[in-house]
Each structure stands twice: as structure tokens, then as C-alpha cells.
Amino acid sequence: MMRPGHHIRRWASRVFSPQTMARVIEPMLADLQLEYSCAQAAGKPWRARWIQFVGYATCMRVVVLCGTQSACSVVREMSGDDSRALRRMVGFTTLFAVLVTGFFAGHPILRFALAQSRDVSVTWSDNPVERIWLLALLLPQAITLAIPVALVLGVSVTIGSRQLSRRLAAAVLAFALLGSMVTFGVMGWGAPLANHHFRTTLSGYVQHKGTAELTLGEIRSLRSRISESLPQSSAPALSTIVARTDLRYHRGYAFPAASIVLVLFLLARPRNTNRVLLASQGAIACGIYYGLMVAGEAGMRSGWINGAVGAWLPNIVFMTAATALALRRFRSATPAAAIARPN
């Protein structure tokens, strides 16, 4: 029989140092296993289950504490200059995230209010609590869009003007990875559920889920159901449905990756001291990314590319550009290139 904490121990050993494992994680798991086996031996299976549940909650807390301590020690070991730059980057990104979320969440409200003023058939709740709830339901969708935009602007303004040490570059990429993970969770599950609740609350009765209201798991099962039920030689209209579902599914993975791909592109870009220019370049990069998303969708609709390529097209283009820029910088930085270059 597998003892409680077996998988946690295996996973933690890949993440934490041997010292942290020996001093923190393994003593905690040893105590959990002892308590659990004592309860089992005493013939109290429910007590054992409760101990297991509490033990796992403790594990999560300890893992979070250890992770935070590790992250803090990385920041502490940075030079003062790097540490200041990182703090500035986190601060600016958070500020941009709040502003952009406000913009994206406020935009549909404004459109709705304008439509209501023109058309009496469009009704907006009179109850202030319900209005706040509706506004809150718009936040997940807005956060999904705001995270990559805020990261691009935050990194452009604060990091774009300086030479990066390896440690600072790793910390910026770790921050972008965190942004990608949050976007993945919110886009895959939070936003679809919030969208469905929004429509249901507004109409006053339970609505059937539209394609934009399906979680990533639901899209996955829909996709496999469609693929199983449709023969390969089906009508073009049906294959378009398959491609569209494919696009929605792959976008659930491709769009969260935008944060890390765009940050990689920004880090590979030549340094510049003009912050306004850097911020403009960041905004243009976001615009181009959006344009490529639209182009990918259009290519999928016209049957030139399949849904997976359509969803990943912006990431492919930006990763290629980032690689080309990094190679160019690397070549221009090597002494051989400096000697070969005339004057």
C-alpha cells in the first residue's frame, strides 16, 4: 500500500534542494505517515482520512513557505542594482495589470450602458449588488488579456534599457512563467465559468453554454466527440466546425504561452535607453501579436491551416524573431565578429 505523501515527496525532490528536503519536507512527511499509520492501527479509518487531509493541507502550506523562502533568497543574492530593477519591474507590471484589467472590464460595461441608452429592450440590472457581481464576472476575461499586455509594458519600461545579468534574466523569465500559469488557469476555467454566469445572471434563467463558455476540459471532450462522430470525408462545413473547435482548444494553451514568448522576444531585442520608445515597441508587439491571432483564425476559416497552427501562429512568429535577434546579438558580441567587422 502506498503511504500518504509518497507523490508529494517525489515531486518535491525535483523542486527543492536536498537540504530543504532533509530538514523540512521529509520530517513533515515522516510525522504525517506516523500519525496516519497509528490511526489505521487503532482501527479508525475516518480519523486516518482526516489526518491525511490535514497533512496534505500542511504539505501545501510548507511547500508554499519553502518556495517563497527560495524565491526571496534568490532576490537577496542579487546585486542591489538587479534587485531594484526586479522590484521596479514587478511594481510596474502590477500597476499596468490593474489599469489594463480596468480598461478591458470597463469596456463591455460602457458598451452595454450605451446600448441601453439607445435601445429600451436592453436591460441592465437595477440592483447595485447584482451590478457589482456582474462587473466581477467580467474580471476573469479582462485579467486573461491584461496579464500579457501588462508584462510586456512592465518589462519594456523597466528592463528594456539595461544589460541583464543571468540572475535577473532568470528572475524575469520566472515572473513571466508565473503570468503564463495564471493566464492558463483563468483562461481555461475561470473565464468560461464567469462568462456563463454573466449571461445567466443577466437573462435571469440558466442558459446553455456557448463555445466561449466551455472550460478547457469540456472543449477537449467536445473535440474528441466531434472527431469520433464525423468521418474524415465529411462536408467542408463540418470540417470547419472541427477546425474551429481545434483552434479554441489549442488557443487555451497557446495564448497563456504569449506572456513568456513576448518576454523572451523583449529580452532578445537590442537595448535602448529611451523608455517611451521601449513602451511603444512593447505596445506594437502586443498589436502585432493580436494581428497574428486574427490572421491565424482567418487562415483556419479559409482552410489554409489547421486549428493548431492557427492558434500557435503568433507564438511561432515571435519565437522565430526572438531566436533571430538573440543570434544576431550573440554574433555581434563574440570577439571573432568584432575582429572580422571592418572598423
Binding site: R3, R23, A30, E35, V62, C66
Partner: protein, 102 residues
């Protein structure tokens, strides 16, 4: 000053040192039980790890096998530095608040 740092003792660290000094070798959950809910399961292991790093306590793996064949328990005891700090903390609190001093 490389290699030297100020010694600090938080409330939780003080409590752990007190429990270990009076109760002998203990493992994490025993400390939580003995502290009468003043120590929490979620933080005691991190605090113990930090105290070991500071040199206030030392630990060893239990010799006897754990019932059910689980991981061996880690038992903690105060080091000489930990004991001296505890005495110093008691003296200091006695000086600051004489009526509570021993």
C-alpha cells in the same frame, strides 16, 4: 564582517528551545502537541529547519523503525548555542521586567 551575523530569537524559536530543553528529544508533531496550539503544523517544520541552519538545534533520524514502515522520524534537541541563548533570553527578560525575573 564576513562569517558573522547577529543572533536573533523569535517567539516561536524561543518556545521551541524551551520545549526541547525541558522535554528532551522531540519530533515536529510532538512539539506541536506540547506547545498547546501555540505552534502550528504548517509552520513548525520551516521554523525547525531555520533554527537548525542557525545552529540553535541539531537533529538526527530516529534509530527505531516507524510503525507502518514510513519515513524515519527526525528528532530535535537544542545545541549548546541554543541553550546559552535560552539562558540569555531569560536573563534579559529578567532585567527588563525584574518582577518576572527568576
Amino acid at each position: 564582517m564576513a562569517g558573522r551575523r547577529a543572533l536573533s530569537l523569535s517567539d516561536k524559536e524561543h518556545l521551541i528551545l524551551q520545549l526541547l530543553s525541558s522535554g528532551g528529544e522531540m519530533y515536529g508533531l510532538e512539539l506541536v502537541g506540547a506547545s498547546r496550539k501555540r505552534l502550528k503544523r504548517g509552520t513548525v517544520y520551516v521554523t525547525l529547519g531555520r533554527m537548525e541552519e542557525k545552529g540553535y538545534i541539531s537533529s538526527r533520524l530516529a534509530d527505531e523503525a516507524t510503525p507502518g514502515g514510513g519515513l524515519p522520524l527526525r528528532l530535535y534537541q537544542p545545541t549548546g548555542l541554543g541553550r546559552r541563548l535560552l539562558v540569555l533570553a531569560a536573563e534579559l527578560s529578567g532585567q527588563l521586567v525584574p518582577e518576572f525575573g527568576s
